[in-house]
Structure formats: structure tokens, C-alpha cells
Amino acid sequence: MSDLNPPTDPERMKTQLPARATRPRNADAKPAASGAEKTRARPGGLFECIAEGRQFESVVHPDAGHDEAVVEIVDFRLWYGETQALHDISFSVPKGKVTALIGPSGCGKSTLIRCVNRMNDLVDSVRVEGQMKLNGDAIYGKGVDVIELRKRIGMVFQKPNPFPMSIFENVVYSLRIDGVRDRHALEEVCESSLRGAGLWDEVKDRLKDSALALSGGQQQRLCIARAIAAEPEVLLLDEPCSALDPIATGRIEDLIDDLKGLYSVLIVTHNMQQASRVSDNTAFMYLGRLVEYGPTETLFLSPSLRETEDYVTGRFG
């Protein structure tokens, strides 16, 4: 079990990078960076360069770009009020594969993933530039129906958030809001989604019970079932295991493995083992920028950048 709590676990990251994690481009960032620099990074390293806001090119490995893209991100920038949280991000999420987003806390992973289904519209101060495309359709721009767009995307959050209703109603929620009333169709979708989320055997006898009576791990799998019930074109997972114990985490990881091929998955994780185990491609972000993106194997075993290597091996901080 100990390997599930590697040196790069989120708690440690946070404690080691307090100033940067919460306030990018803050003056305080400098001493912290120089502390790191003394032991590992080159003088004038990439992190320093990013922290100072200088231009740099993200490294995108060519073999990550061969597959057909389900989500394409082009020069994407985002501001929370005056603060820019995402800088010129460009990469594409391949169809039918699992793509992991890694990076220290506060680097903008959640922000980026929430941009894909435009959850950031709910935040008043957000302003974006650049474009994202879902299977070729623009996500941002005039005339985009956000409701329709969200129906094509499934999302699972960090903390399980089952609705206060029965298990059955939770799973078929997205059909309900579309006005589906056919009992038979609903039951079919409910069963196949629960099977897909590996929860069917545990709850098949208590579909009428409140979803809040399930355990945390079961709740999270229920949320996955709810997300796949609408047959989404892409599944967004924002740290789906961070509120779970190692066993429940293992089950979710197995589940993501099973979903591979059926769904395109974009997953945010703080756990390097998890990223290397479940993902095909990995994107490493730092302070709102994409640093390196490529096949997981390349990124973990022979990354082009020293910083990426430091981060994935847990020597960074």
C-alpha cells in the first residue's frame, strides 16, 4: 500500500510550494525557486523563467499528436478578473485514450478541465481567449449552446457529489432532464451505466434507496455511472480519487482502465503512479502553462525537460 503514497502526494506538494501554489507570479516565488535551484535546477531554469513570466515554448512530443483528437485546445488563455490563470495552452486530447493532467497544486489543471465543458461560466469574473474544439465543433464563441455542449461531455468531481435522490434517479438524471419518460429505456441505461461503472452488483437490489447512503467510493463510482449514462464524447475526471481510500482508489483506477477505448478520458491527478498506470498521454503543467506533453511512457521515462523529470520523480520542490 505504501507505494500509493509516494513522495509526490498532494499534501507534500502543497506544503512545499505554498507561495507559488496560491499566488502565481508573486514576488515571494523567487526565494522558493532559488532554494530549489541551488540543489537541482540549472541557474535560470525553466521554472524561474515561467515564474518571471518570460516567453517559452512548451514541448509537445510529436507521437502524441498522431491520433484523432476529441478535444483540441488552441492558444487558450484564461483570466480570473485581473489574474491570468492559463497562458497559451495548446494540445489535443486523443480519441479513445486516457490523457492525464499533472502539475503542482494551483497550476491551473482544474481550471483547464473545467473550461472544456464551460463550467467556468459559473464564475462571474472569468474571461477567456483562444479556442477549444469538441470533435471539431467550437466550444467557445457566439451561438454555442452551453447546455447542449455539456450534454456531450461527462464530468466527475474531486468530491463525490451524488444528488439527494435515489440511486436510480441519480444515474438517469441526464435522461430525466431531457424529458425521457420511457421506464424501460431508463432502466436499461441505468443498468448498463452501473455495470460500466462497476457498481451494478453492489446496488442492483437497492436502486430505490437514497444515493447518500452509499460509501464514498461507491458514491464516486455512482458519479461516474451518472457521467457515462449520457454517452459522452469525452469524460472529464478532476482528481476523482483524492477523497478516497487506497482500495477505493484502486477500483476506480481499474475502472478507468476498463473505460479506455470506450471513452476518451481527460483526468487530473496528483498521483504520479496513477498517472503512469492509467494514462496513455500526459500533460505536465506549471503555473498556468503547459510545460511538456507527450506519451506517458516518454514523459515518465525520458522527458525532454529536466523540470519534467524532477517533477515526475518527485525531486522537484
Binding site: N117, M119, L122, D124, I147, E148, R150, K151, I153, G154, M155, F157, K159, N161, P162, F163, P164, M165, Y173, S174, R176, I177, D178, D209, S210, A211, L212, A213, C223, R226, A227, A230
Partner: protein, 583 residues
């Protein structure tokens, strides 16, 4: 590494510390425990004292007390029920007025009791004969006290109670029985039938005559409408006029038949009477039709007393008031209170919830919303009479008058909606309790975790779908709490009601299943709270009304508690349904 675990202090230092600690009162837990506990105890004592008083006084009103007959040293004989016992200090003049023997006794009593004398208040009634309802008697001037076996307390339809010993049963003025037992037997045999006839007369007067009256009234209104629309002397008006005259003639014939019937029933009833011997030795005749209930209290035993007790409660809950509200029942007030509260709830909950939804879910949180929120909160602190004035000025005089102009022109200048009524009262109270619902709902809405909303949006739900399917169900128990609070506040409010429709006496309920259109939201109504005020402060016989004040208060508390219990039960069910076994 920098902070070492604290080591236990060494002798000298530790002792000094301990002394310092002792010097501060707050460093000990106990004083605060006692203070907080005492405050709680004080609250509990006050609440239980209030409830205890109301329950005790209200609960015993209907218990039939024994009738005593006392003879005083001055030679007076009084019969009645003891209603109060206390002590007082008689003035010198009053002492001088007493006959010698009595004065000696009273003075002895005064010496023994530090200058005060015990006395009791006897409810002697027989107001038409004696001119008083109550008499004070000093204990020391009582020469003899008996409990006559056949003493009867009679509750009459008018002029208060009557105390006496039945002597004879009279039919058309002739005595048919001799002796109390035989007379009373005869009375019990006939009384039910006579009450049935009284009821019949009442029905004839209210329903049959009432219907004829309202038919004529409707016809007159129709005629007036034609007159307003077409003018007098127009052919339509002439036709209508002829129709009206025919109808009125018809009605008058019916009227005569019914009045004849009423007269006949009255004559039968009036032929029966009871002759009583009163305390002073005289006799009095009471017509059976005037007797609501006669109880030979000293004979009936405990079971009989319980039966009378419940019978009087039943009358209290179901009958109309008698004798300027100080006797009889409170049914119209009970009905008015419950109906007004329900109407108010039906109005205030949806409006309050929708308003809170806008404030919390739709409005962009900013300065303006903050101002609105503060304003709503402050509205809760506005004195209720202010709402009454607003209700009168806005609902009755502006909205009501407009409705009258538009739809009830024929009845003018008599207002229909342009005066106080149960609808306006409900709306006024809805306004009064609106802040309660808004604040409670907003609290409930903020308690719904944002992650739920996000989950719903992520599934492609619209804002309203999210609110309707996720937020509202989750917030429902909290919203019910708001409704409960508003019911509790609204049901007990009296001041504004006096301005917008609560009246002393309104036997016509706002719901009448016998007359089209069955619901009369414009009617004024009776309300328990106002009834308490009226009985307690506006009746001439305030001593007799006092027990009724307590009983009505008890009923009002019971109603509020009951309404709350219903709402709490609904809330508990919702909780179970929406939140499942855990959390």
C-alpha cells in the same frame, strides 16, 4: 524540531503558575456553567409557568363546581358557586355597618390574621332578580353553609346563569309536578325536544329566511346592474323590474309561511317552563326554551361531572358564542383563525420561496442585493400594527375599492371588497411573515452544497432544472422551517387584524356550503386572538368572562401548536424522503 514538547513545570515555577490561575474567575469552568445553566432554568421556569397557568385556568373553566348556600349573620341567604378566595382589609365604615355579632367576629378574625379577613367570591347570578352577578362574603360572617341536594345551575340563552331549586314543571302556567325530583325528571324528558325545536327555529331563520333574503338581494342587484347599463325606463329595465316585483311577491308569501312556522314552534316551546325556588325564598319562572343546560351539580357525582365537563368543551368548540361572547362556543373564531392562517401560508410560502430563489440563485450578488437583503431582514422587525395600517390603506381602500368599482358596482355604496375581510387579513399577515420565509429559505438555499449544483450543470441541466430537481428538494426541510415559523407568527398576531377584518361577532363563516359561490373571501371573520381581547376587555361581566379568556387562550395555543406539529411532521417526512438513511 524547534518546538519541544512542553515539560511539566518544576516545583517553584509550577506553584506560582497555579496561584495565578486561581486568581482568575474565568479560568475555572464552573461559574460559567452555573450562569448559563441558571439562565436556561429561568427560561424554562417562565415558559412552564406560562403554560401551567393557562392550562390550569383554562382547563378548569368547564368543571361544574358544587353549589353552596350560605346564610350570613345579617340574615341574607345566598346560593351560588365559589369562584375565588382571598383576603382583604375592611374599611372602618364597612365594619361599622355590620351588626354587632358580625362585627365582633370580623374583628376577631382581623386580630388573628394581622388585620386582614378571609373572604370568598360567590357567583350568585340571577341577574334579572338581584342585579348582581357576584357577591363577596367574609368567611367570619357566615352563619350556616349547606349544599342543597337539588340546587341547580341553569345556563340560559340570555341574562346569564340562574341558581335555584326546581319546584314545579309548568305547562301553560299550570303546575304538573310537585317536588324537585319529579320536576327534574319531567324537565329531562322534555328538554331535548325543546332544544330540537330551538334548533329548528334557528335553521329556519338563518337558512330559509336567509336564502329568501339573498335571492331578493341578488335580484335587486341584477336590476340595478341593468339600470346602470341601460338606464331606467329602458325596455330591458322594465322587464327586469316586472320580474323583480313578481319575485318579491313570491318571496313575501314564502316569508309569511316560514314566519308562521316559526311562530308555531315558538308557541309550543313557550308553553313549557320551570318554577324555581331561589335562595332568598322567592320563586322564579324560567322558560324551557331559554335553558341551554341545567345541572343539579350536587347530585350528579364525579362521572356526571365529567360528562358535563366534556359536554361543555364540545359546546365551546362547536357552538356560536352567546351573551356578548362571554358564554357559549367559539366555533366561528376557531374556524376563522385556522382558515386565515392556512390562506396566509398558501400565499406567503410560494411568494417567499420564489423571492428567495431570485435573491440567492439568479441575482448577481452585489451591493443592490445586499441592500435588498438588509431591507427584508428589517421588515421582520416592523411593528405589526404598521402592516395593519398598510393592509387597510392598500388592500381594503385601494385594491378592494377598485374591485368593487369594476365588479360590484351595483352594490355600491355598500362596500364588498372595499372593507376588511378574511382575504385582506390573510394577505396582510402574509406580508408580515414574508421576511421570515425569505430569510429561512435563503438560509436553506445556502446550505445546499455548490458541488450539487455543479454536478447538475455538468449533466447539462438548465438553471431552472437544477433548482427544481436538486436545490429545492434539498432545501425543502429548511423551507418548511420557514413556513412553520411564519405560521407560528401569523396565527398569534392580533393587532393588524383589528384593522383589516377581524370583528367581535361574525356568525356567517367565510365558507358557506349552502350558498353560491360557497367561498366568501370578502367576509369579515372572528379570530381567537381578537376574541380573547374582546371577551377579556370589552364585556360588561368581566368576572364571568375571565375563565373564558383563559380557555380561549388555551385553545389558541393548542391551535398554534397543532398547526406547527403538522408542519413539523411534513418536514420530517420530506427529510426522510430526500436525505436517505445517512446524513
Amino acid at each position: 524540531m524547534s518546538v519541544a514538547p512542553e515539560k511539566p513545570p518544576r516545583e517553584g515555577k509550577g506553584a506560582g503558575r497555579r496561584i495565578r490561575r486561581k486568581s482568575s474567575l474565568t479560568s475555572h469552568g464552573e461559574p460559567m456553567v452555573w450562569l448559563t445553566g441558571a439562565s436556561l432554568a429561568l427560561c424554562l421556569v417562565m415558559i412552564s409557568g406560562l403554560l401551567g397557568l393557562v392550562v390550569y385556568q383554562g382547563g378548569r373553566t368547564f368543571w361544574p363546581q358544587e353549589i353552596v348556600q350560605v346564610e350570613t349573620l345579617t340574615g341574607d341567604v345566598l346560593m351560588g358557586q365559589v369562584s375565588r378566595v382571598d383576603t382583604f382589609t375592611p374599611s372602618a365604615d364597612a365594619l361599622d355597618a355590620l351588626p354587632d355579632e358580625a362585627r365582633v367576629r370580623v374583628e376577631a378574625d382581623m386580630r388573628a390574621n394581622e388585620g386582614s379577613v378571609a373572604r370568598r367570591m360567590l357567583r350568585t347570578e340571577n341577574f334579572d332578580l338581584t342585579g348582581t352577578h357576584f357577591d363577596w362574603i367574609e368567611e367570619s360572617v357566615i352563619a350556616a353553609e349547606t349544599k342543597p341536594e337539588w340546587a341547580v345551575v341553569v345556563e340560559r340563552t340570555a341574562k346569564g346563569r340562574f341558581y335555584g331549586v326546581p319546584q314545579a314543571f309548568l305547562v301553560d302556567g299550570e303546575a304538573h309536578t310537585v317536588g324537585s325530583a319529579a320536576t327534574w325528571g319531567k324537565f329531562e324528558e322534555h328538554h331535548a325536544r325543546i332544544l330540537a325545536r330551538v334548533e329548528q327555529i334557528h335553521d329556519l331563520e338563518r337558512d330559509d329566511l336567509g336564502h329568501i333574503n339573498s335571492r331578493i338581494e341578488r335580484q335587486r342587484l341584477a336590476l340595478r346592474e341593468v339600470e346602470l347599463a341601460r338606464g331606467m325606463e329602458s325596455p330591458e329595465w322594465i322587464a327586469k323590474e316586472r320580474e323583480t316585483r313578481a319575485l318579491v311577491e313570491d318571496a313575501e308569501r314564502e316569508f309569511v309561511t316560514i314566519t308562521d312556522e316559526i311562530g308555531r314552534l315558538r308557541t309550543i316551546n313557550d308553553s313549557f317552563a320551570l318554577r324555581f325556588e331561589t335562595a332568598g325564598g322567592g320563586t322564579a319562572i324560567v322558560s324551557l326554551a331559554n335553558i341551554v343546560r341545567g345541572t343539579p351539580v350536587n347530585r350528579i357525582g364525579t362521572a356526571g361531572k365529567w360528562s358535563v365537563y366534556f359536554d361543555r368543551w364540545w359546546e365551546f368548540l362547536t357552538a356560536d358564542p352567546r351573551e356578548a361572547n362571554s358564554e357559549g362556543g367559539v366555533w366561528p373564531a376557531l374556524f376563522g383563525t385556522v382558515m386565515m392562517t392556512l390562506l396566509m401560508t398558501i400565499v406567503v410560502v410560494p411568494i417567499g420561496v420564489l423571492a428567495a430563489l431570485y435573491l440567492h440563485e439568479y441575482a448577481k450578488q452585489g451591493f443592490l442585493v445586499g441592500v435588498v437583503r438588509v431591507a427584508v431582514n428589517n421588515l421582520a422587525g416592523v411593528p405589526s400594527i404598521v402592516f395593519g395600517v398598510f393592509g387597510l390603506g392598500f388592500f381594503c381602500y385601494i385594491v378592494g375599492a377598485t374591485i368593487d368599482d369594476l365588479f360590484f358596482g351595483a352594490r355600491l355604496p355598500n362596500p364588498t371588497f372595499g372593507k376588511g375581510g378574511i382575504l385582506w387579513a390573510s394577505l396582510t399577515l402574509a406580508l408580515l411573515t414574508l421576511p421570515v420565509v425569505i430569510v429561512a429559505t435563503e438560509e436553506a438555499l445556502s446550505a445546499v452544497p455548490n458541488s450539487m449544483r455543479e454536478g447538475s450543470y455538468a449533466c447539462g441541466a438548465t438553471k431552472w432544472q437544477t433548482i427544481w430537481r436538486i436545490v429545492l428538494p434539498r432545501a425543502q426541510p429548511g423551507i418548511m422551517t420557514g413556513a412553520i415559523l411564519s405560521i407560528a407568527r401569523g396565527a398569534g398576531e392580533v393587532a393588524p387584524l383589528m384593522l383589516v377584518g377581524a370583528v367581535k361577532l361574525a356568525p356567517d363563516l367565510p365558507v358557506d356550503l349552502g350558498t353560491f359561490p360557497y367561498l366568501f373571501p370578502e367576509r369579515s371573520f372572528m379570530h381567537l386572538g381578537f376574541h380573547i381581547y374582546d371577551v377579556g376587555f370589552q364585556s360588561q361581566n368581566s368576572e364571568a368572562a375571565k375563565p373564558m379568556v383563559y380557555t380561549t387562550t388555551l385553545l389558541l395555543i393548542a391551535i398554534v401548536v397543532l398547526l406547527n406539529f403538522v408542519a413539523i411532521a411534513i418536514r420530517a417526512r420530506l427529510r426522510r424522503r430526500f436525505l436517505g438513511a445517512r446524513t
